[in-house]
């Protein structure tokens, strides 16, 4: 079980995303999470796409957007990209290559496990990520699970 952080758990809301519920069974456990400081942030499907395309750089509260991703080899990443962003992970990789290799931007930071994702998102202001909710104990960290909507 992951360590409980020393600072207070500000809010814990866990909703399974409507998309995920209606998508393929393999992604049914994929949960989008945000740092607890982003509570109340409205996130539409297009916003989420712009976040992962590294186009949306600032949240409504003024904090910089910090994007985390699992390795592009992982099943979880491919499912997330396919079901939440509605594109192929190779196409998203190409968008990231365009930023990195043209000097115009950066790709998201890669984390290697659900536990690391949870810890990074919980401890980084403005952070967003996704994980398999069955792999970690969400209640132990100060993150909010997001219900992305149109």
């Amino acid at each position: 079980m992951p360590n409980i952080k020393s600072y207070s758990v500000r809010s814990i809301f866990v909703f399974l995303c409507l998309w995920a519920a209606s998508a393929s069974p393999s992604s049914a456990e994929t949960i989008l999470i945000m740092n607890a400081g982003l509570e109340g942030e409205q996130l539409s499907n297009n916003d989420l796409l712009r976040v992962y395309a590294m186009k949306k750089r600032t949240w409504s509260n003024g904090e910089p957007v910090v994007v985390y991703t699992l390795p592009n080899k992982s099943r979880q990443h491919r499912d997330f990209v396919y079901n939440y962003l509605r594109m192929q992970s190779h196409h998203l990789s190409r968008l990231w290559h365009k930023l990195v290799f043209s000097g115009t931007g950066s790709k998201p930071e890669v984390v290697n496990s659900a536990a690391e994702m949870l810890e990074k998102v919980a401890n980084t202001p403005g952070a967003i990520g996704y994980l398999d909710g069955t792999e970690v104990n969400m209640a132990s960290q100060s993150v909010i699970a997001v219900d992305a909507h149109d």
């Binding site: 750089r57 992970s89 196409h91 000097g103 950066s106």
Partner: protein
């Protein structure tokens, strides 16, 4: 002057990046590719047909985010493309990015240094293997003979984007100077290596992109670039040499370009782009028009009439990602250097040169196998009519190029 300053700034940036990477704050990315090219009609940017392995790419870059507003990034690239590019390492970009305004739905910033030009869909990443649809970017639009002038500038690049109810608008405007390598422009204009050089291009360009909110899978863009190049460092001909050159031109009019002593080329490049990427598919189309003004032309000091030609090209392309490992590609493309002379007949009649070098149309079929998301093998077969897209290298005998030709390419690539 500008170049040496930029190069110096670039190497300073690279040193700073290496230092930042050493302390774990920076990021490093790169790619490597190696291709085998098989031809039997026209060689591919080389003198000889057959199988050639003279095609490889290596790129490495680093970036360092000082703060949410300030970032530096630099990239060095080595590209071996037959006889056209020798693989010498080059500073691809080296820039300081000051992203001075960022709100929830808009961004404004400026980049200074050597920056890649926002032009169409593929210009900024045309050398990055996995960012391309197949082994090559579509040659009808991204053909080699104008690559250098359009690739990047040593100057300034302003960018802004705004997300509104209708969708997302993105603007970029850039200007500066660009060094043009080799003799590609002379080969394009004269199919001869003149004594002088179109060594430097003055570049001013911009791009407007739009992604509608109702169809976020669709991207539309308009790009325009104005380029000006003058023939520099021309040799002076002695009266005896002038006499010999005159006899040479009378005997063989197609050699006239070799004796150009003055010329100004001003291409105005206009590109429309559309890309639609519903799940599993990427459909892309681009249409290019270039108005090329050729003025101040002198052959052996004798003024020649001004000339304007209108280049036109386009392609339609479909990519299909079947599963995590396999994607397929098909593309039709068309290019003519002069839309009033689509088959090069007037060109041949007036210059005595090969009409087939003035247009290309063809079909490309390909597939890519991803061993992992970062390692792949791409195979591509192209069948073409006309050889305009092969213009560029000095070693090619343009008068010998065939009208009908095929090329088969296998490329391995890896990213990190």
């Amino acid at each position: 002057m500008t170049r040496s300053l930029v190069t110096r700034c670039g190497f300073t940036a690279v040193s700073a990046l290496l230092a930042s990477i050493a302390v774990g704050e920076g990021r490093v990315n790169g790619y490597v590719s190696q291709a085998a090219v098989h031809t039997h009609d026209n060689a591919f940017f080389e003198a000889d047909t057959g199988t050639s392995f003279n095609f490889r790419e290596l790129g490495i870059n680093g970036s360092w985010q000082f703060s949410p507003q300030v970032r530096i990034a630099a990239q060095a690239v080595s590209r071996r493309l037959g006889d056209l590019d020798d693989g010498d390492p080059k500073l691809d970009f080296a820039l300081l990015d000051y992203h001075f305004y960022s709100a929830e739905s808009s961004n404004v910033g400026v980049r200074v240094g050597r920056t890649k030009n926002a032009y169409g869909i593929y210009n900024q990443t045309r050398d990055v293997p996995h960012a391309r649809p197949g082994v090559l970017v579509p040659q009808a639009i991204y053909f080699e003979s104008i690559r250098d002038a359009l690739l990047s500038v040593d100057g300034v690049n302003f960018y802004a984007d705004a997300y509104r109810g209708a969708g997302e608008f993105a603007f970029e405007v850039y200007g500066g100077k660009r060094k043009v390598e080799g003799s590609v422009v002379e080969n394009l204009m004269f199919q001869a290596d003149t004594s002088g050089d179109f060594g430097t291009a003055d570049v001013l360009g911009g791009r407007i992109g739009f992604v509608p909110a109702a169809v976020p899978e669709l991207e539309l863009a308009v790009s325009a670039i104005d380029v000006k190049m003058e023939l520099e460092d021309v040799a002076s001909f002695s009266p005896l040499e002038v006499g010999q050159a005159f006899l040479d031109i009378v005997a063989n009019p197609s050699t006239a370009g070799k004796y150009a002593t003055s010329a100004t080329i001003e291409p105005f490049v206009q590109l429309l782009s559309a890309q639609y990427s519903p799940q599993g598919w990427v459909l892309t189309a681009e249409y290019l028009r270039v108005d090329i003004d050729l003025t101040n032309v002198e052959i052996l000091g004798q003024p020649q009439p001004d000339n304007t030609t209108k280049l036109e090209s386009y392609y339609l392309q479909a990519e299909w990602q079947l599963n995590d490992h396999l994607s397929l590609l098909s593309r039709y493309e068309y290019l003519t250097f002069d839309k009033t002379d689509r088959k090069g007949e007037v060109y041949q009649a007036t210059t005595g040169r090969n009409a087939f070098t003035q247009y290309t149309s063809g079909i490309t079929l390909g597939g890519r196998w991803y061993f992992t998301p970062d390692m792949s093998l791409t195979a591509e077969y192209g069948v073409f009519e006309g050889a305009a897209s092969l213009v560029g290298a000095n070693s090619v005998n343009y008068d010998q190029l065939d009208e009908d030709w095929e090329v088969f390419i296998l490329q391995f690539s890896f990213h990190f």
